[in-house]
Subunit: 468 residues, 2 copies
């Protein structure tokens, strides 16, 4: 994974000449990362032809000439499966692309004509190339950042504090076993593996039930570490501050010390390498959030999403006292936060969606502005799946959406209002949300391009200044 010095140097030169940009895309699972990246690549490849990118000046002015995929630098990172994603969309009936697992990467060469900037500017016929490295990684990995601030003892206490009643229920099987455990007893490898398996199952069940704030993130996507002791630990419930000294003086073979050792190994060999080898190299970042999905899921999940996002956003807080700044000196110089699937509500609700997103992220956005990281919130649909209409409904003109549901039914829906503030408990009691999920438009309906909502605005914020 290590880059050679020569490559590093070359990158540095390219970047200082504004010719290379490393753009990362993240979001919790089902936030729409794969659709976003697929659309981004498609829009740039088809710029000036089928793609409509009026909010991106270089495209509007006809200076964006297109993009080509070229060989990526790190041969050990999976390539983002763009062709498979397009193939899914082109299927009959069309499918949403398969979600990616772990990190993936794609490099584009973007050809453009620089603006004619006065007497000494380049001539109109000159073209330039921007090398855009795209990275896609699970937002769940960022949820592990706080783990670095803990030791096993404080992490165990913290985890117990976050177990909500519903999550307790989903973890009942694990809790029943772990509560019988004596931390001072000698560790039995097989027993720990078994209990850790139950803990991982409880995280998986929580995720399936719509929860996001789950640690450790790698338990949900173990990959090659499946079955390794580093993924066989779990928090110990019921630890009192007074126990700390006693527990830490237990022998190496005790359950407590064995779990603590694995926790420390996870910090060093799983969490840190991602920040060291990937994260600190990103120049810009977009965080995708499925706000509508969380509204659908009800109050407990919505609060959980809010907490997970606050945690996730701490990876972008480069204030002086932040753990991350001290450890890895990251350098993201621009950040976008996007509510995805905007095509699932009618157009006049899009500003509501942005306002709600800003409310959801109010604290982190304040911190980011304070730390002087430019940040923009927007709503978008990477791949628009509906068509907006106004229809006569109960005597008045009402906005509506026409689309095909996941079951294949053509339907007309009135999705209603998105709240502009974090819903209060009585609001949830009075009224739930039920935004319909749609399948992508078929190839015939959509034509050669990929219809979208404000992908061009996102592109302008993320790369527009490099195409001047």
């Amino acid at each position: 994974m290590r880059q050679s010095l020569a490559r590093e140097f070359n990158n540095l030169i390219e970047r200082s000449r504004d010719r290379q940009l490393r753009l990362a895309v993240t979001g919790l699972s089902r936030a729409g990362k794969t659709a976003f990246l697929t659309s981004l690549v498609h829009q740039l490849r088809h710029a000036g032809v089928e793609a409509r990118l009026d909010l991106l000046p270089a495209a509007r002015e006809g200076r964006l000439l297109g993009a080509q995929r070229v060989a990526q630098q790190d041969l050990g990172v999976p390539r983002f499966p763009y062709d498979q994603a397009i193939a899914s969309l082109d299927q009959q009936p069309p499918h949403w692309p398969e979600p990616t697992r772990g990190i993936s990467e794609l490099r584009l060469h973007i050809r453009y004509r620089p603006e004619n900037n006065g007497l000494f500017g380049s001539l109109g016929s000159d073209t330039a190339t921007l090398t855009l490295d795209l990275f896609d990684y699970p937002g769940e990995w960022l949820l592990d950042l706080p783990l670095l601030e803990h030791d096993f003892f404080s992490w165990s206490q913290r985890q117990q504090a976050t177990l909500s009643p519903q999550r307790r229920e989903l973890a009942a099987d694990w809790l029943a076993t772990v509560e019988r455990l004596d931390p001072a007893a000698p560790a039995d490898e097989a027993e720990l593996a078994e209990i850790a398996g139950r803990y991982a199952d409880s995280l998986q069940a929580a995720r399936n039930a719509g929860f996001s704030d789950l640690q450790p993130g790698r338990f949900l996507l173990p990959g090659d570490l499946d079955g390794a002791p580093v993924l066989q630990f779990f928090p110990l419930p019921g630890l009192e501050d007074a126990d700390r000294q006693h527990l830490e003086s237990l022998p190496d073979e005790s359950i407590y010390r064995t779990l603590a050792k694995r926790f420390a190994y996870y910090q060093q060999h799983v969490v840190k390498p991602f920040y060291r080898e990937h994260f600190r190299r990103f120049d810009r970042q977009i965080v995708l959030v499925d706000v509508l999905g969380a509204l659908n899921a009800g109050p407990e999940r919505f609060e959980d999403l809010s907490r997970a996002l606050a945690t996730l956003m701490r990876s972008f807080d480069y204030g002086k006292r932040s753990l991350l700044s001290r450890l890895f000196s990251p350098r993201i110089d621009r950040l976008a936060i996007a509510a995805t699937k905007a095509d699932h509500v009618t157009p006049e609700q899009h500003t509501h969606l942005v306002t709600l997103l800003e409310a959801l992220l109010a604290e982190p956005i304040k911190d980011l502005r304070f730390a002087d990281v430019p940040v923009k919130a927007l709503s978008l649909a990477s791949i628009r799946a509906t068509q907006a209409h106004e229809v006569e409904h109960q005597g008045k003109r009402t906005p509506a959406l026409r689309g095909v549901t996941l079951d294949g039914e053509e339907t007309l829906v009135f999705p209603g209002e998105v709240p502009t503030r974090l819903p209060r408990p009585d609001f949830w009691a009075r009224q739930g949300f039920a935004f319909t999920a749609f399948r992508p438009l078929s190839r015939e309906t959509r034509g050669g391009g990929l219809p979208h909502i404000r992908m061009d605005a996102a592109l302008d914020w993320l790369i527009g200044d490099k195409l001047q």
Copy 2:
């Protein structure tokens, strides 16, 4: 994966006091690695109780007190799934354990009473502990060793030379595409990924058809590297020595240079790390060979197995001129080669099986003896699945086996003779082999122990001297 210096030092001390031993088990897929390791652990755990280990002096003399699983050292390596394997065997009906993928590890503490060696020897009541680290890894990884002696050009030539007629047929789909490729053309990432996919499919088809000598080994078990460019290369057919200079002067973006770069990355980041981080630390090694399966599969596969084994065994050739010795200074001081599944032929054929194994490995064994690596060939059944009988058959007493086939049928078979020499072509034409596959004995039939054939002899050779 790096061991800390302190741990390294500690290991060194333990080892110098003969208290720690790192034993590796390998073999091509389906050679019986999982059954062997499961049985090895079971026999040691049940020593002195259900396990019969008369050929292991420490056990015969009642000095072997048992073994306990303890925490392994490298937390990032999957643990060998012993409990799952035993659970499979205990099922009703019993199943062979699931094969492992990649490397796995297990640490045992073996308690024994040292021999009373004279006046100053230890007292009879003293006990000692041997720490036994067990490793299990796919033999296919060793097949990649020769790759380090090549560059992309010579590797391509070599691969073409090894394509037998049957393998050509299995690779027809890939060959049809790759033969149309112009090595000088600019590389199209998606096209290379597609062709590499066909190449990987052809390797998989060859393996399913019983072939073993397949490169690159990691294409068959990609793990977390799935989709990464490092696993997206393939040999170019039809390269002539005269082309070399021209091809190597092609631009970086050409197909030839792109494939060559990935090949080099595979050498550096996939093949070498295994030798550097694991292989060179092993003290002893057993190589398992499914000779009977290869006889069943016919002449082309049998020759292929012979070639694959010769390649694999080069990892143990520490002669002065060997590539491995120069690169990694490995240190295995004792080697066993075992023909597995000996319970699938009648007892009087076991010596034939060893003789055939020795014939199959004649050249590598010679090299090993010349390099002064003690090596022993034997036949064994890790978990005996049959019972040997003599029955009256066509008027004379004939050896036979009673067992339950994989389909669940109780059966009595006359497996016939194992040849003692590599079969000649006319032999294959005259007579094939058809050794029946059996399922493990049920828990009731076998009792608490795991019946075996010569596991104790293997144990004596591999660890017996450390239990004196």
